[in-house]
């Protein structure tokens, strides 16, 4: 198991542009969106880190931008890292899919696409998971539904 400082150093070594916010309960790394796939690939394949388990993937709408969040775990060393990427383009948000690395990402990403409308490049089957095809993206902050939502 690597401690926080060792993990930070290894991630910096892989990708110098990564930022590490202070004071977070888990180790967080804010990765530029276009570097996310390459960094995750290294984190997974490197013998020291061996992040072989994608626990969770979700997204957050901050009104000004989207943040996609990945929780990676190593079943070998039991250490954990939180990767975050900012997507500034609200009109046509896009990011690389991690399905090639983690098959579990397929359904996570379909759900994120369904609820936030974030498109994942190279995703094998990017269809709506729950909602109808012509429905909006309900977890976006600017989502409005006159029929079903009672606003307050």
């Amino acid at each position: 198991m690597l401690n926080r400082q060792e993990l930070t150093d290894i991630i910096r070594e892989f990708e110098p542009e990564v930022e590490f916010p202070e004071g977070t309960p888990l180790l967080e790394a804010i990765v530029p969106a276009e570097k996310l796939f390459a960094l995750t690939e290294k984190l997974k394949s490197d013998k020291r880190t061996a992040f072989n388990y994608l626990i969770n993937h979700t997204a957050v709408d901050f009104s000004t931008h989207f943040t996609v969040v990945y929780h990676l775990d190593s079943t070998e060393f039991r250490h954990l890292v939180v990767l975050k990427s900012l997507i500034a383009d609200r009109e046509n948000p896009k990011i690389d899919s991690l399905t090639a690395l983690y098959p579990a990402a397929e359904y996570f990403e379909r759900e994120v696409f369904d609820l936030f409308g974030i498109r994942f490049n190279n995703h094998p089957n990017l269809k709506r998971l729950f909602m109808e095809d012509d429905y909006g993206y309900p977890l976006r902050k600017d989502f409005r539904d006159e029929v079903n939502i009672i606003e307050r």
């Binding site: 729950f130 309900p138 989502f143 539904d145 079903n148 939502i149 009672i150 606003e151 307050r152």
Partner: protein
């Protein structure tokens, strides 16, 4: 007439008008048949195994030995709506669940009863505002007999709701049955 042996009518405190709903009036023959029939029906209401969220945990606790549903004749959870008498809507009903709930209700044989358990099933509860997916109360979908408020209600509250349902059943008459669809909002 005391409907529940272990609990006096005045202990219910509220809705003492329930017994006034008795439809068969004072006809001795009819009331005797109703009394026997309703005694049977009200003491063996079998619930459907149906729970959509955390209220289901409380419903399971109500069925477990500490609270022991079965004392009141809510005897055994049936996995098929064909064998169930009451559906306890234990949890949030969202728009995708609504047609399934309606189908389950339609598949239950008469006489059938509905208990709306918890804030979500009563009114949408915590999801009333700003939710795109939740039906504001199960009574938009199927007619409800007893509402049990709480988030989630304790097993005692569900037991109380069940006892109220038993009182309601004992006020019924086979000669003057109401159409459950008329109870819909």
């Amino acid at each position: 007439m005391g409907v529940i042996k272990s609990m006096k009518d005045e202990d219910f405190g509220d809705n003492e008008s329930l017994e006034l709903l008795k439809k068969s009036g004072s006809n001795v023959f009819m009331t005797s048949i109703d009394a026997v029939l309703n005694w049977g029906v009200s003491n063996s209401i079998w619930p459907l195994t149906f729970a959509t969220s955390c209220c289901g945990i409380e419903m399971m606790a109500a069925g477990a030995p500490r609270h022991d549903f079965a004392r009141f004749g809510i005897e055994v959870y049936r996995a098929s709506p064909r064998q169930a008498d009451v559906i306890v809507i234990a949890g949030t009903i969202n728009h995708k669940m609504a047609p399934i709930l309606k189908r389950l209700y339609d598949q239950m044989p008469e006489p059938k009863y509905v208990i709306a358990m918890g804030a979500c099933a009563v009114s949408g509860g915590p999801f009333f505002y700003n939710s795109y997916s939740v039906v504001r109360g199960a009574d938009h979908v199927i007619p409800v007999d007893v509402y049990v408020p709480g988030c989630p209600p304790r097993p005692e509250a569900l037991l109380y709701g069940v006892m109220q349902l038993q009182r309601k059943i004992r006020g019924e008459s086979i000669f003057d049955q109401e159409d459950p669809a008329e109870k819909l909002l």
